[in-house]
């Protein structure tokens, strides 16, 4: 139950973020929901790398001591990259939102539909 409860929290966060990202009209609200989804994924990655045995480690045999950190911390490394990319995405997304707001005085995603039809 120790692993599963973290994974369930991650799934709940992802579902809440999915609902927000698909149902909101305000572009900044969509971005905030995306951040909630990122956090759910990060929590899942860290929890799995904390509690489960990597397949490479159980097959590596006894000399795996040198490589244990590589197998066990990969989830944390992935999370670092996800956080970095999320930061870049937010900076760019907010810049785009501000540019759209300047050009058409609206931040609703339904108003930025020039490529529709």
């Amino acid at each position: 139950m120790t692993l599963e409860r973290f994974l369930i929290i991650g799934a709940i966060l992802f579902a809440i973020g999915l609902y927000g990202a698909l149902s909101k009209k305000h572009a900044i609200a969509v971005l905030m929901s995306l951040e909630i989804m990122f956090n759910g994924v990060n929590l899942t990655a860290v929890a799995i790398s904390r509690y489960t045995v990597p397949a490479a480690m159980s097959s590596a045999g006894t000399h795996a001591a040198e490589n244990a950190s590589r197998f066990l911390l990969t989830g944390q490394i992935f999370t670092i990259f996800i956080i970095t990319i999320a930061a870049a995405e937010v900076a760019l997304g907010l810049a785009i939102i501000v540019a759209i707001y300047r050009s058409r005085q609206s931040v609703l995603v339904t108003d930025a539909a020039d490529m529709k039809n």
Binding site: L13, A15, I28, M32, I36, N39, V53, A65, L94, V107
Partner: protein, 182 residues
């Protein structure tokens, strides 16, 4: 289950976990439900703090620090700035007409993932599949993780590390040229 920490199963850890889980989930729901965008940004900060606390419970202290600095310190400030710069929308953050089906889809997705999580037979650390030396090594890794993370970042994942730095530079330049106007 007793690896690395020695605090697992303690009552105080349980209480801390449930308080943090509850505050994270409730504030995440508040983010998508509150109509005032500024308040939902504040609740987003509470969500980030809760996830940072769970990182500490998962013995990823470095990630908790990164989460505090980048999410709580930088991203939420950026979001609040953007909200203040684009704030003359009186109706707050409206939803469009597909709320109910989207909520249903999200609920079905959540139920499916929870079912998948609880139906999977996880190969947990601390089970019999590892030798004693491997379990000891696991404890060492998690009690002293930051040097290992540094070695991994600059040795095994160095290509991804450099590419992410180039990506950040490109994103910052793009953001600057977008908001600077003409």
């Amino acid at each position: 289950m007793n690896l690395g920490g020695g605090t697992e199963g303690a009552l105080i850890t349980e209480i801390v976990f449930w308080v943090m889980a509850l505050s994270t989930v409730v504030s995440a729901i508040a983010v998508v439900q509150i109509r005032d965008l500024f308040r939902s940004a504040l609740f987003l900060i509470v969500t980030f703090l809760g996830v940072a606390g769970m990182f500490i419970l998962l013995r990823a202290e470095f990630l908790a620090g990164v989460q505090l600095m980048i999410y709580v310190g930088a991203i939420s400030v950026l979001i609040i700035f953007a909200i203040l710069m684009t704030r003359d929308l009186d109706e707050g953050s409206p939803s469009h007409g597909f709320r109910i089906p989207i909520a249903l889809i999200s609920l079905i997705f959540m139920a499916l993932s929870i079912y998948a999580v609880s139906a999977t037979d996880w190969n947990l650390l601390g089970s019999e599949s590892l030798t004693d030396s491997q379990i000891a090594e696991t404890k060492v890794v998690f009690s002293n993780a930051i040097p290992s993370i540094a070695k991994l970042l600059l040795r095994d994942f160095v290509l991804a590390f450099e590419m992410v730095s180039v990506l950040l530079l490109a994103a910052v330049l793009g953001a600057l040229s977008l908001v600077r106007g003409r």
